[in-house]
């Protein structure tokens, strides 16, 4: 297939600064009145990488992405996208980014093809180029044969891929996806991530927000945002190694809730969290943790069927970080 044209243009050096980074945020802040939705967030997104912006609902993901796309102006701090300042050069940014908002923005009363024609049109595509891109998007999204179906008759996965297609018709070198897989079945999610990888291989920089942990594993770099603050940043491996001073165990027992309650009281237990039918416990500065856990639970007549030392998952990392952040905040308040 063809080279991603937009990316080539980008590499030609039109962007004035920091050629390794597609997105640079420095102390980026957004306040709504007194409420701080995004609180002095700094990060860099390297060209061609998949940057996962992870956080629970209301953490400030969409607000951050909106500032980067020029929809909101930052209250404080700055951000550069493709080398252009979001506050002063939104027009330069607009033609170089693709954006797929949290509600996939398709016209439900138009057909697949009409949606593509419209979005192509507003990006100034016409004639042969539009036809070529339309063909590409329809192939990519697996929508061949569905061109004249109304968008609202498509099921979640198709609509989501069509929305993605519409946002990359103009071959943007930087792509912002705001919770693109929300409310989509697992198979479609899988397919969607294949498309994201494919784009990434073509050199497109992808900034994607999500609250699915498993999706975070697919990213080259992850930023964790929690109540407006960036509380972790790094590659999945780096983040997992950041928990090296902890030992993490997965425990399967007869009474998960009581067991967690009991263990939380121990000085050496850093954090506990439910994990499927089992739970995870991270421990700090303790030897023979496995035996201690076994002992405490057996004492209370809780039958332990399995205790296993595990490599921490990203979820363990995030739970740990969120707990630290909550503790820090409470400490500051007291």
């Amino acid at each position: 297939m063809k080279l991603w044209k937009g990316h080539k243009e980008q590499l030609d050096g039109k962007a004035p600064m920091d050629n390794d980074c597609a997105v640079v945020a420095e102390e980026l802040t957004k306040k709504f009145g007194k409420f701080i939705a995004v609180d002095h967030v700094s990060f860099k997104v390297k060209r061609g990488e998949i940057f996962g912006f992870l956080g629970p609902n209301g953490a400030g993901k969409s607000t951050t992405i909106r500032m980067l796309c020029g929809l909101f102006s930052p209250t404080e701090g700055s951000a550069h996208v493709g080398g252009f300042d979001v506050a002063t050069q939104p027009d330069e940014i607009k033609s170089r980014i693709g954006y797929m908002s949290q509600k996939f923005s398709l016209y439900e009363d138009l057909t697949v093809e009409q949606n593509i024609n419209f979005y192509g049109g507003i990006y100034g595509l016409e004639g042969a180029r539009l036809e070529e891109r339309k063909h590409w998007v329809i192939e990519m999204a697996g929508l061949a044969g569905k061109e004249s179906m109304l968008a609202h008759t498509l099921s979640g996965g198709w609509r989501q891929r069509l929305a993605l297609g519409c946002s990359i018709l103009h071959e943007p070198p930087i792509l912002f996806l705001d919770e693109p897989t929300g409310g989509v079945d697992p198979v479609s999610r899988r397919k969607f991530w294949d498309l994201i990888y494919d784009l990434s291989h073509r050199g497109v920089t992808i900034f994607v927000t999500t609250h699915y942990m498993d999706e975070a594993e697919h990213c080259h770099t992850i930023g964790l945002i929690y109540t407006g603050k960036l509380i972790a940043l790094g590659s999945p491996t780096e983040l997992k190694h950041s928990l090296d001073r902890y030992s993490v165990f997965e425990v399967q027992c007869s009474n998960t809730v009581d067991a967690m309650e009991l263990l939380r009281g121990q000085a050496w237990a850093a954090e506990t969290s439910i994990f499927g039918s089992a739970f995870h416990i991270s421990t700090l500065n303790v030897s023979d943790a496995e035996k201690k856990i076994q002992g405490i639970l057996t004492n209370e007549k809780i039958a332990v069927s399995r205790i296993e030392k595990i490599i921490p998952s990203l979820e363990d990392v995030f739970i740990q970080r969120i707990a630290e952040e909550d503790a820090r905040k409470n400490g500051a308040r007291n």
């Binding site: 939104p90 016209y107 138009l110 009409q114 049109g121 507003i122 990006y123």
Partner: protein, 381 residues
Amino acid sequence: MKLHLVSLNILPIVRKEFRQIKRDKRILSILLFIPALMLLMFGYALNFDVKHTSMAVYDEDRSSVSREFTEQFFISEYFTKVQTLESKAEINNLLDAEKARVVLVIPSSFTKDIQRGRAASVQVIVDGTNSNAAATVLGYINAIIQQYSVKVMTESFVRMGQQNITMPIDFEPRVWYNPELESAKFLVPGLIAFILMVTAVVSTALAIVRERELGTMEQLMVSPIKPIELILGKTIPYTIISLFATVTILFLGSILFDVSIKGSIFLLSLVTFIFFIGSLGMGLLISTMVETQQLAFMIAAIVSMLPTFILSGFVFPIRNMPIIIQGITYLLPARYFLVALRAIILKGAGLSAFWDQALILTIYAVIMIGISSLRMRKILA
């Protein structure tokens, strides 16, 4: 080479908007068929012309003269005789039961007075429930009586031997600008104002709020589309449709009700355009203030459709309204537009007759477009 200063990318939006309008049969029917329907409805069914009004006669005179006089009413198509009364007491019952809307009472001295050359008086009792109709009926009665008086006068002159007398005054019942008092002639300009208001304000507000509600607006805002392109692209389709509706009303008005445009088409288009721009501004303004289509529709209807229908003088004459309401009508652009339209279509007047109305409409349009584009810029930029 494209001239980048003047090249605006509006075609994709216009095309898309037309597709959506075509898809949504409701909008299209509201925009195209409702005006025609209203014209037919108001022109025929809810005719303001008062014809075949039921009339009863209580004739105390019972002479050939009084009978001749009474006949004058029933040879016109305006009145239909329902009953001849035997006593005065029957009058109340008759009116209460709505068996007659008008009662003509001829006193016993009627013939005597006429023969002696004295002013003969008759009493006319009209059911005033519908004040507009009552006023019209009184007008007819007055005209018929005047006409008869002239006839009597002429005859007495002739009897007195003066030949070849010419009528001093022509006492035809006459109403200016609308000689047959035909409602359709008043309705055509009113309907034009109404439909322009509805398309401009309601459709524009809805078309923009719909994108905000569905989240597609956000997608447009991250695209290189400029606010002006978006606004033009969104409003041009509705402008075309309202023009079409306007022409339809004018055409139907002319073939069905014989309402031809007496004045200049250019002036008509100019005033209509100014009014339309002001209404577009209003629609845009509403779209910047609300988040949901439902609310947009409610507000647009409250500020545009209702006042245009009720307060602009479209259906109810402004001079019959309470003073406070009359004051409010000065705030409605449709009021000025209607005066100008009626002047052009019915009277064939030139700009000098309604320049003040046109000026107010222009000021209104400038203010509306000014405020709404400021607010739009805030939202879209």
